[in-house]
Symmetry: C2
Subunit: 254 residues, 2 copies
């Protein structure tokens, strides 16, 4: 068993009316979930809130106090509804200042056209640090255990590259998937549960599929001890076969 | 201005380790966001939590007490990690019972093979009601202002059909989009903000795009008074033109 001390936790806060109105399908949560997985960090919770200062501040404080890391996405552009910097500063009880490095970038790019809106993007909370933006536009920023990234997926992914090296990762979770064909969850459930109960440190999940090509379920075994995960795949296969379920295939996860 | 009394609010709770591990890209939030929009209901918050009873119960209670409606997705299958029914019952402080209508369905489908796992899907909180499942498998259920639906997107969408008639909707939000080509948010921000400030009941957002075909932004004007939304599109167009931004096109939302 992996010592509990190596468990590192995280949350995601997605900021933006466009997600809650249905205008935009979020994909950042899935990208960040995989990113944390690669770093051995457990993503424990995600929230989506609109562009309302008190809601954003409350969510930042709830999540940053509870988990080791918090990544926010969205709301760092130049328009009036981009209020994430204000909210992060308010959550930490600090002021915003115009970061000279971002001001230099903006001046280089815009010259005399660095207007009030563009200067909004230079604002960083006191005590914060910059997060490189390898795509386009100004950087993101971090303060304490909070990383504030852009909402545009392409830029968000670029910024994650500069978040990775700043994280203290846990033991990486490994995952194996057993595909069951021709049996539904109703018959899989009992052997799956008995094996799950014997391995409380692992996560065993069942994800049914059905369609024209047939039906069945993907059984996913996840854990931090690769040997235990491998042994459990064998144990589960045996338990399923004992219950008469024998169309089993090891497949790449997911 | 639409009276505040007609505003109806909602939240979504997405339940499942597979979303937080990155295995599955959620699409249910976007489907439900559009569904609420069509009913004139403001989706104000969404949360994603894993398959952990205390986390799910806490989220259900936080969201159902704060908003008019809560929809949950996921965790109503037959396997050991499907604990949403237990959590909803715990949140309301009631017991689960085997609903005779679901038991009849299961018996019709499975005969003698209605095992313990399948019977789990017949459990409904005391005082709850059923939500029809037009796709396959057992129904969802509701209690009070909470609707508990399947996580599989196809089934979830089917169940929404039976949620709609149960909702007291607000005034429907209408939305118009103005496309700006060749100008970035840094120059759009000032006229956009001045128009937004003059219309506090509307939501004005800017969603930049860029790619090989050029760059610009979609400006989305949303509100409950169609006449005010239309007038504001004209007002915003005028303000943008006065700022030298004239490549404007009204486009279908989004």
């Amino acid at each position: 068993m992996t010592p509990a001390a190596t468990r590192v936790t995280a949350a995601v806060l997605i900021i933006g009316d466009e997600i809650l109105s249905g205008r935009t399908q979020d994909t950042n949560l899935n990208t960040i979930a995989k990113f944390f997985g690669q770093h051995g960090i457990d993503l424990c919770e995600a929230r989506v809130v609109g562009d309302i200062q008190e809601e954003i501040v409350a969510a930042i404080n709830a999540l940053r106090s509870r988990y080791d890391y918090l990544i926010t996405t969205g709301g760092i552009g130049p328009t009036h509804d981009d209020i994430t910097a204000d909210c992060v500063a308010a959550a930490f009880g600090v002021e915003l200042y115009e970061h000279p490095e971002i001001m230099a970038l903006l001046t280089k790019r815009w010259g005399d056209e660095v207007n009030a809106a563009r200067r909004r993007m230079a604002r960083v909370p006191d005590g914060g640090f910059l997060i490189k933006n390898p795509v386009q536009g100004p950087p993101g920023f971090g303060i304490g255990n909070v990383f504030t990234l852009a909402g545009v997926p392409l830029i968000m992914r670029g910024m994650l590259e500069d978040v990775g090296p700043r994280l203290k990762g846990g033991a990486v979770v490994v995952s194996r998937t057993l595909r069951v064909d021709g049996s539904g969850e109703g018959i899989i459930a009992a052997p799956l549960e008995s094996v799950a109960k014997a391995h409380p440190d692992l996560s065993l999940g069942s994800y049914p599929f059905f369609g024209e090509a047939g039906f069945g379920s993907h059984l996913v075994i996840r854990g931090r001890d690769p040997a235990e995960v491998d042994a459990t795949v064998d144990e589960l296969s045996e338990a399923l076969r004992a219950a008469g379920i024998d169309k089993l295939t090891a497949v790449a996860t997911p």
